[in-house]
């Protein structure tokens, strides 16, 4: 596409202006951007709480905040990051934007439901924000009973309502994606020709649809228990607090796969493009995504190992937890094999992909340690667990998210981001991340409990390192915020396929027209068929 024509050409961003055209849009691309904006806000909210946590943990005593306040800080950090940032992040922003395009559809199956799901996230988020500002909630993001139902004096119900409403946002998104993938693929776009990002997003949608309703009903029971003291989780009335944990984790374990599967999908895309090779073992990777979705529902009891779950149940869940690691490991092998003898370029998305592969592997392996009953008993509820899941969520998901944002930025905005700054921030983020979270593995192994702010003096060095790392990480995250915004006006204008990629989304203009394609595509080749990509310059700095 020619530079001058971009300014005059009509596309999804300039087709209509004004607040109403955004707030009442049915265009999946605009809705994707609405989500992008919203989740970024919540990332800041969660980040603010993280900052306060790390400042408090600089010193062994409880100097900065009281214990009650500290309880609120880590709770709200978790709630904001998990329910209002990570769960929606990739599916609702990049998934919304690109899933229809990648299968050659004009939009999702149910555009108005798509818009509704964004509003639900916003309303849910407002409830949660209200709770945070009105005094906070201190139960931990896990809301274990009977503390959350009977003894906590904080804004449990408001937060729970917010999460409940956001849950419906997630369900509707998943429903929309499933129907779209089944019923709206372009002619010739068979299942086995779909990009792997679509496969992983589809698998994620299955989890969203099957798991989230259980969280919803759990929250309803929590609400009833707190309001009416019906006794369902209260031992004094014959209730079982562990039932809450079963119901809660039935969703919340698969939820972590909601958070990581789409990220893996992005990595498949990025690793392929920037090695200029089709993903090694496409079919296996596709099936592995489905396997993760299914197996992910069979392991939730590993969160209950020390919760008076029966010994036999513990054995079963431990055994099953090993299995769920297999498809994830298979993906890592396949990405590595894709790189082998590839024509590798170190563009920013690829740098993030490398970061993901290494850090996700560490996070995943430490998950296996935790799956072992004997080891888990020692490190459960310590910083070892905290480090484990941050390696996956931050070293994994957020890195993949940044990879995806950089990769698809030119398509979404018609502008390139500044490559040098982007590579620098990728490096800063990688270093900051490891400095923040590696010491936490050691801390946990040495016995530092999670959710504590007062700790023995000998742990201080590691905590200081971790906080230092967090400062670096924060700086690293600020950089893309700045240069992405900068690029909207001053970035180099991008063509339709600056990376020479092979997906359908690259065969239309940047930014795309309102209906995605001027003519509906007919698909005749496999995914990642680089030979058939019509010569475009590969723009790498």
């Amino acid at each position: 596409m020619i530079t001058a024509a971009v300014q005059e050409r009509e596309h999804y961003l300039n087709q209509s202006y004004g607040l109403k055209s955004w707030l009442l849009t049915k265009d999946h691309k605009r809705i994707g951007l609405l989500y992008l904006f919203t989740i970024t806000l919540f990332f800041f909210v969660g980040g603010a709480f993280a900052t306060m946590i790390r400042v408090e943990l600089l010193t062994p005593g409880g100097n900065f905040v009281s214990s009650d306040t500290y309880n609120k800080l880590f709770t709200m950090h978790g709630v904001a990051m998990i329910f209002f940032f990570l769960i929606p992040s990739i599916p609702a922003s990049l998934g919304n934007f690109f899933l229809p395009m990648m299968i050659g559809a004009r939009d999702l199956a149910f555009p108005r439901i798509n818009l509704l799901s964004w509003y639900l996230l916003v309303v849910g988020g407002l409830f949660a924000l209200f709770a945070m500002l009105a005094g906070g909630v201190d139960t931990g993001w896990t809301f274990y009973t009977p503390y959350s139902t009977t003894y906590s004096n904080s804004w449990v119900i408001a937060t729970a309502i917010g999460i409940f409403i956001a849950g419906f946002s997630s369900i509707l998104t998943g429903l929309n994606f499933i129907v779209t993938v089944h019923r709206m693929r372009a002619p010739g776009m068979t299942w086995m020709r779909m990009p792997l990002f679509v496969w992983s997003t589809y698998a994620t949608s299955l989890i969203q649809v099957l798991g989230t309703p259980v969280l919803a009903v759990t929250i309803i029971l929590l609400f009833c228990e707190r309001f009416f003291h019906i006794g369902i989780f209260d031992p004094k009335l014959g209730g079982d607090p562990v039932l809450f944990q079963h119901m809660f984790w039935f969703y919340s374990h698969p939820a972590v796969y909601i958070m990581v599967l789409p990220a893996m999908g992005i990595i498949s895309e990025v690793v392929s493009v920037f090695s200029r090779k089709p993903v090694f073992g496409y079919r296996v990777v596709a099936y592995a995504s489905m396997a993760i979705a299914v197996l992910g529902f069979l392991v939730w009891g590993h969160h209950l190992f020390v919760a008076t779950q029966s010994v036999y149940a513990g054995l079963v869940f431990s055994f099953l937890s090993y299995f769920v690691a297999i498809p994830s490991a298979i993906k890592v092998f396949n990405w590595t094999a894709t790189l082998y003898k590839g024509s590798i370029s170190f563009a920013t998305p690829m740098l993030y992909a490398f970061g993901f592969i290494g850090l996700f592997t560490i996070g995943g392996l430490t998950g296996l340690f935790l799956a072992a009953l004997g080891f888990d008993v020692h490190v459960t509820d310590t910083y070892f667990v905290v480090a484990h899941f941050h390696y996956i969520m931050v070293g994994g998901t957020i890195m993949a998210y940044l990879a995806g944002l950089h990769y698809w930025w030119p398509k979404m905005t018609g502008r390139m981001y500044p490559e040098a700054w982007a590579r620098l921030s990728a490096l800063v983020i990688f270093l900051g991340f490891n400095l923040t979270f590696f010491p936490q593995f050691i801390l946990g192994y040495l016995g530092m409990p999670r959710r504590y702010h007062v700790y023995p003096d000998e742990f201080q060095v590691l905590h200081v390192l971790s906080t230092a790392g967090a400062s670096v990480l924060a700086a690293g995250y600020l950089m893309p915020m700045i240069y992405f915004v900068w690029s909207l006006r001053y970035g180099q204008v991008a063509g339709s396929n600056p990376w020479g990629a092979a997906g359908l989304e690259w065969q239309t203009a940047s930014p795309p027209p309102v209906h995605n394609f001027d003519e509906m595509p007919v698909v005749t080749h496999e995914a990642y068929d680089y030979a058939s990509v019509i010569g475009e310059e590969i723009q790498v700095g």
Partner: protein, 227 residues
């Protein structure tokens, strides 16, 4: 390219994201089925809680269950089954393009649904009078103080499950009212009756939930002679 809503066939609502009406209908139907699956998991959590506590306190649950009027419960079950019959006949009428029959059967379904809800309201009121509503004023006659909590658990589940079910019925009633209004305006033909079809699926699903609720709540060990 896309039918940019210039075509007056928008009245039959071929939305612009779809290529054909068949695709649209397929997609809508699949969407409704997936939604019903989410409802299965939603109610499923309550069924889980029920299973856990019935297993723990079988005797108390039996005693508490016997305080429900089994004949009213059975009669209400019949009412709901009748409404399922009238609903499927409404769908059939829509498949055949018979507007008057559609309206008739939808109205009957709505009325029967109303009867069900009315009976439920009566039953709940009885529970209120007997102090069987969980909360500070709960008291079950004939049980000791340490068993009150277990009995309250039964009633918590009773109200949670029938309450959630009733909420779904109310929503269903609203949807039916909307359908009746549209049907009277001739909106549905043999070529386009998707909303009738889909709301029919929803209605039948709500009936299936009740099919399980009735024996689980009303028929626990009825053969036991109660003290």
């Amino acid at each position: 390219m896309a039918s940019e809503a210039h075509a007056p066939a928008e009245s039959l609502a071929l939305r612009e994201q779809f290529e054909t009406e068949a695709q649209q209908k397929d997609a809508s139907t699949l969407g409704m089925w997936i939604f019903l699956i989410t409802e299965v998991m939603f109610f499923g959590g309550l069924f889980l809680a029920y299973m856990v506590y019935r297993r723990l306190y079988p005797d108390i649950f039996a005693i508490a269950s016997s305080s429900l009027n089994v004949y009213i419960g059975a009669a209400n079950t019949v009412v709901l089954l009748c409404s399922s019959l009238t609903m499927v006949l409404a769908v059939r009428a829509a498949q055949l393009g018979r507007t008057r029959a559609i309206v008739l059967f939808l109205v009957l379904t709505l009325l029967l649904g109303g009867v069900f809800l009315g009976v439920k309201a009566y039953e709940w009121n009885e529970k209120f009078v007997e102090h069987h509503i969980p909360g500070p004023s709960f008291h079950f006659e004939g049980l000791g103080p340490d068993q009150q909590g277990h009995a309250q658990l039964f009633f918590s589940l009773y109200f949670a499950m029938t309450g959630l079910h009733a909420l779904h019925m109310v929503i269903g009633a609203g949807l039916l009212a909307m359908l009746i209004w549209q049907a009277r305006r001739g909106r549905f033909t043999a070529e386009y009756m998707t909303p009738v079809d889909l709301i029919g699926l929803y209605w039948h699903f709500v009936d299936i939930i009740w099919i399980f609720l009735f024996p689980l709540l009303y028929l626990i060990d009825r053969h036991l002679k109660q003290p």
